[in-house]
Symmetry: C2
Subunit: 300 residues, 2 copies
């Protein structure tokens, strides 16, 4: 199955105890696509500015990502500056420049309207709804969101939630959305809002998935060095949906379990280097090798 | 194999968002024993005051715990008053009265000096060393410790660490001991201090074990209600060592994996009610049933 991801392409300035980069490729759609391309065909719908570099588009193309839906607009590419201190689970935003993202109004091309798997990355829920309304044949629709929209556009967010199959969200934001700090209740309450599958991402502690056939939880893969966790959540989503798309969208509990481990596997690679450096030279063989290490780590 | 646990018997005043109790049975040795007794024979070495109630000793005896090593001393039983707020992972100490614990100088009786499995619960490392020196035939020695001793008696603590087979410790204290917030480095650094097996407890996020044959990690069992996490760490230790003792102390990676899941299983029951209420009416069948739910939760 073919995947369409709608989200951001960005330049990030990143700093962590392990170094810094001043202007590196980032954005939810980029991380998602570079993760998902290890499993399935993926197309990006995003907007970039005049400053977006050809080399970055070439990287995506080189990985087999369809970039025909990347719109180039007058203005600057979305820019985010963030820092991580000792606690690598928390990003501290230093600067955000929306640039061309401020007017992002994605028009899905004829070539992409019939994508069977759709990932609505973390953008304005109004934009997410507009995209959803253009899709003609979606079999699996998954979405992400964040505190900004939970607070700022609760009704619009509820409307999108009622129309999607899956929500992938981090634990703090899941608690905010449900109003409960209990993970079990949170999972149940969000499922009642619409998505039949709810994936709660817990940073270095792993992920827990609530599904109509039960729960699945996995710890994260312990890493020697976590240089830069930026994009780990979107990489998880890419691995998760990429795998499910490769299984013809069969959402059995068996596949959901494997998908969560594949998502966690790809996300662990993302954290090992700054920006998309590690994803850029990842291949399926490396992914499968670490998938087996996940088995050793967790099976009894 | 028979287990000896040296630690505290206490009365706790506990408060959480789910209620409160004013004076309830607690203490590391008590929680440990009530967890371990589901798997192996366990003897307690602890000191209590004149106020310690017969009904509490009877509860332990009724569960098959050997209480002949519980010394009754003049004074008050160790008392701890703690509160949990919304974040149930963190206990806020409101009051501590050492009482008879201040002069705890355990003399291991002839009947107990040849115990093959020893758990040195979280007490002064000087006391832990004294106990260890009295043991004649220990096959597995495990210990716990806390920030107070890491800060206050680092040399004595290092000496005990160099003599034990296992350390079971929570994540914050493990980071303090190693000086690293990276879990992989922390596990490796602590193993270099002595214990060949290091179990790092991560509260609601589960546990990770570092062993010479590799790593094992499991999430915690998600609970509908976490009323009172007091004693969860000691219950984990009881399930972990109780299971290993029932396997004749075979520390293969296979057994370590099962032991970590049994420990997590028993700890999950502990959290469901205040004090030892849930442990008091736990049996092996209930434990095994939840052990299988753990499998469903985590296997892929």
């Amino acid at each position: 199955m073919s995947i369409l991801v709608v989200g951001t392409a960005a330049y990030d300035a990143l700093k962590s105890p392990f170094g810094e980069v001043e202007r590196a490729l980032g954005g939810s759609a980029v991380y998602f696509a570079l993760a998902a391309c290890n499993f399935s065909h993926v197309s990006i719908c995003a907007v970039v500015g005049k400053d977006f570099e050809a080399a970055d588009l070439e990287l995506l193309e080189h990985k087999g990502v369809d970039i025909s839906g990347v719109e180039r607009s007058n203005g600057e590419t979305f820019f985010w500056k963030g820092e991580y201190h000792e606690d690598l689970n928390t990003a501290h935003t230093k600067e955000t420049r929306l640039g061309v993202l401020a007017d992002f109004d994605p028009q899905i091309s004829d070539e992409h309207v019939d994508a069977e798997v759709v990932f609505l990355a973390n953008v304005d829920p109004v934009v997410q709804l507009k995209v959803l309304n253009q899709m003609t044949n979606p079999k699996i629709v998954a979405m992400d969101t964040m505190n900004f929209w939970i607070d700022g556009k609760p009704n619009e967010l509820r409307e999108v939630l009622s129309q999607v199959d899956m929500l992938l969200i981090n634990d703090g934001e899941a608690a905010m959305l449900s109003g409960s700090r209990n993970i079990l209740r949170t999972g149940r309450m969000i499922r009642e809002m619409g998505p039949k599958t709810v994936c709660i991402k817990r940073g270095e502690y792993g992920v827990i998935v609530f599904h109509e056939a039960g729960m699945f939880a996995t710890p994260a893969y312990p890493l020697e060095t976590i240089k830069d966790p930026t994009g780990a959540g979107d990489s998880f989503a890419g691995g998760f949906l990429g795998y499910l798309a490769s299984q013809h969208g069969d959402l059995s509990m068996h596949n959901i379990r494997n998908a969560a481990v594949y998502g966690s596997t790809v996300a662990s690679f993302t954290c090992e280097e700054f920006s998309v450096a590690r994803l850029a030279r990842l291949d399926r063989e490396m992914v499968d090798e670490r998938f087996e290490l996940f088995r050793e780590l967790t099976q009894f």
